[in-house]
């Protein structure tokens, strides 16, 4: 294990991400299926912003219990009272209330727990609000996808754009799946997190693609490497960078998540950072194991690269034959890994 860590530390590691693409595709298809199943069976636990309702927040006084708070609020003539603990506060969700009813609840609670009315935060959401939020989110998503497709097509090429978008959709579905199965509440802040994943998921992919473009750009007629091998090299090469950039992106989000859950309980901080956290982890995986393999799959269909691959394979076969006749083992080290991987591909 220390060996692996120090190799990681030196940035000296060579994993055949592309060669194992069937494994990744399988894993991703499985995850997607589970996510979609979750979305269909469980659905998303939509927050009060989508259902419509009222939320009250106030400081938890010592000795108050959930039952007690529920009774107090119900005494104000309100129904569907749900009491939750949120950090140092009570969070009470009720049906959607009118102005005077809100005041009444605030007064009742303030009186009971010896706080002033102003210390009871309230939130009243009409049932259509969430609809508007999610409608805008969908439009935003669509516009973003188109804008990014165009941009990546210009900055790189359409295959890279397509691969990046597929990876993006993959991330979004799996993140949504995590929400469906875990029952985490989906609020507008969560949707915000979802939308932000867009940027981050692509960020990694863009860094990797930039490297692939550079490396494969050098691949001419010299038949040393196939596109697949070059892409895989580029990927391994940027692995440390990808992991590091993902890690420094995830660390602040983890900090928000930590503070959001421990200090404040439910709220914007937690909702947003949870979605971001899940999305970023999935996004890191997909930029390495989904985006690049898809790109390679697309690229290997191009005649130019097919021809190159044939030449390289012929050469390799000849070299292998020569090696067998010489009965000499292949040199040790990570070249070994590459050679094995190449063999596997040939068998397919």
């Amino acid at each position: 294990m220390p060996g692996v860590i120090s190799r990681l530390y030196r940035g000296d590691i060579n994993i055949d991400f592309v060669g194992k693409r069937k494994v990744w595709y399988g894993l991703s298809v499985f995850l997607l299926a589970v996510s979609i199943l979750g979305l269909v069976l469980n659905g998303l636990n939509l927050g009060v912003e989508f259902r419509g309702g009222s939320v009250f927040d106030f400081t938890r006084t010592p000795g108050s219990s959930i039952e007690q708070v529920r009774e107090t609020v119900a005494d104000a003539g309100v129904h569907q009272v749900i009491v939750q603990q949120a950090g140092p506060n009570w969070r009470v969700t009720t049906e959607s209330l009118q102005g005077e009813e809100v005041t009444k609840v605030q007064q009742t609670v303030a009186k009971k727990y010896g706080i002033t009315e102003d210390e009871v935060s309230s939130q009243v959401i009409g049932a259509t609000w969430g609809g508007e939020v999610s409608q805008k989110a969908w439009i935003g998503l669509a516009v973003f996808m188109i804008a990014i497709m165009l941009y990546l097509s210009v900055a790189f090429e359409w295959r890279m754009a397509l691969a990046a978008i597929v990876a993006l959709v993959h991330d979004l579905v799996i993140t949504a799946g995590v929400y469906a199965w875990s029952g985490f509440e989906v609020t507008p802040a969560t949707m915000l997190g979802f939308l932000t994943i867009l940027g981050y998921s692509l960020y990694d992919a863009v860094v990797v693609f930039d490297m692939i473009k550079e490396v494969t750009g050098k691949l001419g007629t010299s038949a040393k490497m196939t596109y697949t091998q070059a892409a895989n090299n580029a990927l391994s090469h940027t692995l440390i960078r990808s992991l590091n950039t993902s890690l420094v992106a995830i660390l602040p989000v983890a900090a928000i998540l930590f503070i959001g859950t421990t200090l404040l309980g439910a709220g914007t901080l937690k909702d947003l950072s949870l979605a971001l956290f899940v999305g970023m982890v999935v996004g890191t995986y997909s930029s390495l194991c989904v985006a690049t393999p898809i790109l390679v799959t697309l690229k290997e269909r191009e005649p130019k690269w097919q021809a190159l691959a044939q030449r390289v394979h012929a050469k390799e076969a000849a070299a292998a034959k020569a090696a067998r006749t010489a009965k000499e083992p292949v040199s040790a080290g990570s070249q070994n890994v590459t050679a094995q991987a190449t063999d596997k591909r040939k068998k397919r």
Partner: protein
């Protein structure tokens, strides 16, 4: 340089702490969504009008620092301080225009000093309108352009009401010599408080105790008479947003607080107005407002004008009530059957256009529903602010720690870049909040914290490139730094462009909090580019000259062991 300039701005303005949004400072945020019968989007003009009306109502209640703004098709009202029920009620009622016959009229208050005399001077009528007086320097200016002032209700009618205005007899004369073509008849905006209130001083010049003295009170609900006697129209809130029942008589103030009225049941609803335009009278060249009615409205308007035109003043006035206040109460000079009326008076282009807008959009039944009402107590706001700041600090510390652990000496450069970016961001937010009305909210803070990652990403990309170059056998760090920069620069720009596109799309298409978050993200992406180009890269070039780094000291992050120059895997890549 930029930082120095911004730092100086901050120091000069003595504005070291950015202003906070209501979710951090405590307060109520109301989001109103327009409801239209056919599900269409409301016109921007009608929304603007609604924003103006709501702003006037909120200002009328004396709440300071409230913000009323359009956000896409919604209107967002932010009221500092938690639990302002009154304000909530005010902002959520629908403004509808109604035309009511004037039954009685008097000056704004009962104080004798403020009752205009029979021959009012501009100064005495100004005394009755403290709100208007505040911003008016001279009586002369007042009569020249009274509605150009900044009084909360400085709208069209203040002109007609405060100008040393004709008494009813003058306006009658006006009718005779200004007769337009068939179809369009006209009404004259002449109800100056002086003229209207003249019966009062005549009856009891020194006893202004009863504003109704000398007026015909027949047919008026007795309860309203009391209310009328008590109402003080010089108060800041003159009843804006009051829900007036169209089937009842009401007491109302003029919108500039100079007069009070008792008004009959609504004769014509604003919904019956089909349009209103400001224009000039072709013969006299003076500004007028032309109002057109729909067919039912035309009939109703013809009926009411026919009925009241022969009545004595003030009962021949038809008040237009918008949002609980009388915006104009012209004297009807003749029956107007054609479905098209003209209001003349001493308008300027500005006041005429304003009145036309009020009539036109007051007529639009732009109903709102409260999409969301969020009131955050100041304690919760402080908690969230603290939470956001702690999260930011924690995030920074963890990232810095990781950078130092992984990149050693290079990590210091990264740390310095992060510090510069943090200071830069803080100053930007601060300057924006004091000069561009920016309010730091929780989503902003999260956006800023999250983008620590973006900033760090950029120099990680650069550092890795430098290490690549050294691994590939570039012997001197100085050349490696330059070559790596050329390659990293492109990657950084492409990646930042992706983030920026995301931020822009989110900003323009999102609702509420999302926009704030996107704004923070876009801002920090830009700052990141500035910092990487103008700070990290030059610093790296400088540092490359130091022995500590160029000789690959153990702690520099560039030592031979770290580079793994002999790695066979790297050889493979170089061959490619």
């Amino acid at each position: 340089m930029l930082i120095l300039v911004m730092g100086a701005t901050v120091a000069l303005q003595k504005a070291f702490v950015p202003k906070f949004g209501l979710d951090l400072a405590g307060g109520t945020t109301v989001t109103l969504s327009p409801v239209l019968a056919n599900g269409k989007a409301p016109s921007q003009e009608s929304l603007d009008r609604a924003v103006t009306i709501i702003r006037q109502r909120v200002n009328g209640t004396g709440i300071s620092d409230a913000q009323v703004a359009k956000a896409n098709d919604n209107i967002v009202i932010q009221i500092p301080g938690a639990g302002r029920d009154e304000a909530l009620r005010l902002v959520s009622t629908t403004a509808e225009l109604r035309m009511r016959q004037v039954l009685a009229v008097a000056a704004a208050t009962n104080q004798p000093a403020e009752v205009p005399t029979a021959a009012p001077t501009p100064s005495s009528s100004a005394a009755a309108t403290p709100a208007a007086t505040a911003s008016e320097s001279t009586p002369a200016r007042q009569s020249a352009a009274p509605s150009g002032n900044a009084s909360p209700a400085g709208r069209a009618l203040s002109k007609a009401l405060t100008a040393p205005s004709p008494d009813p007899s003058t306006s009658t004369r006006a009718t005779t010599h200004r007769r337009a073509g068939a179809g369009a008849a006209r009404a004259k905006a002449s109800p100056s408080p002086s003229a209207a209130a003249s019966p009062s001083p005549t009856a009891a010049p020194d006893d202004a105790g009863d504003p109704l003295a000398g007026q015909d009170t027949s047919g008026i609900d007795p309860a309203l008479l009391d209310e009328f006697r008590k109402i003080d129209c010089t108060a800041k809130n003159r009843g804006q947003g009051a829900l007036d029942d169209p089937n009842k008589q009401i007491v109302a103030c003029s919108d500039d607080g100079t007069a009070r009225y008792i008004l009959d049941k609504a004769a014509v609803q604003g919904t019956e107005i089909s349009g209103a335009q400001a224009g000039t009278d072709p013969t006299t060249g003076e500004w007028i407002v032309q109002v057109d009615f729909k067919s039912r409205g035309a009939t109703l308007f013809a009926d009411i004008t026919r009925r009241i035109t022969s009545l004595p003043a003030p009962r021949n006035q038809l008040a237009n009530v918008l949002d609980g206040v009388v915006i104009v109460a012209p004297t009807i000079e003749e029956a107007i059957p054609g479905g098209s009326a003209r209001i003349s008076g001493s308008f300027t282009q500005k006041t005429a256009t304003e009145l036309a807008d009020q009539l036109k959009y007051g007529a639009l039944p732009l109903k709102f529903q409260q999409s969301s009402v969020v009131s955050v107590s100041s304690t919760l706001g402080q908690d969230q602010l603290r939470g956001g700041l702690i999260a930011g600090a924690l995030g920074l510390i963890v990232v810095v720690f990781y950078l130092l652990l992984y990149y050693r000496g290079l990590g210091l450069i990264g740390m310095a870049s992060l510090a510069v970016a943090t200071v830069f961001t803080y100053l930007t937010v601060d300057v924006l909040s004091h000069n561009a009305g920016f309010r730091l909210s929780l989503p902003h803070i999260i956006g800023l914290v999250v983008s620590i990652g973006i900033t760090a990403d950029s120099f990680i990309v650069y550092f890795e490139r430098i290490r690549d170059e050294i691994k590939e056998g570039r012997r001197t760090l100085r050349s490696a730094v330059e070559v790596a920069w050329r390659r990293a620069r492109r990657t950084i720009l492409v990646a930042d462009a992706v983030m920026f596109i995301a931020a822009v799309v989110l900003y323009f298409l999102a609702v509420g909090d999302v926009a704030g978050f996107a704004f923070a993200m876009g801002l920090t992406t830009l700052i990141d580019i500035v910092v990487v180009f103008l700070f990290t890269k030059p610093l790296m070039s400088l540092v490359a000259r130091l022995r500590f780094f160029s000789k690959g000291h153990k702690l520099s992050g560039l030592d031979a062991e770290r580079m793994g120059r002999t790695s066979p895997a790297e050889q493979t890549l170089q061959e490619a």
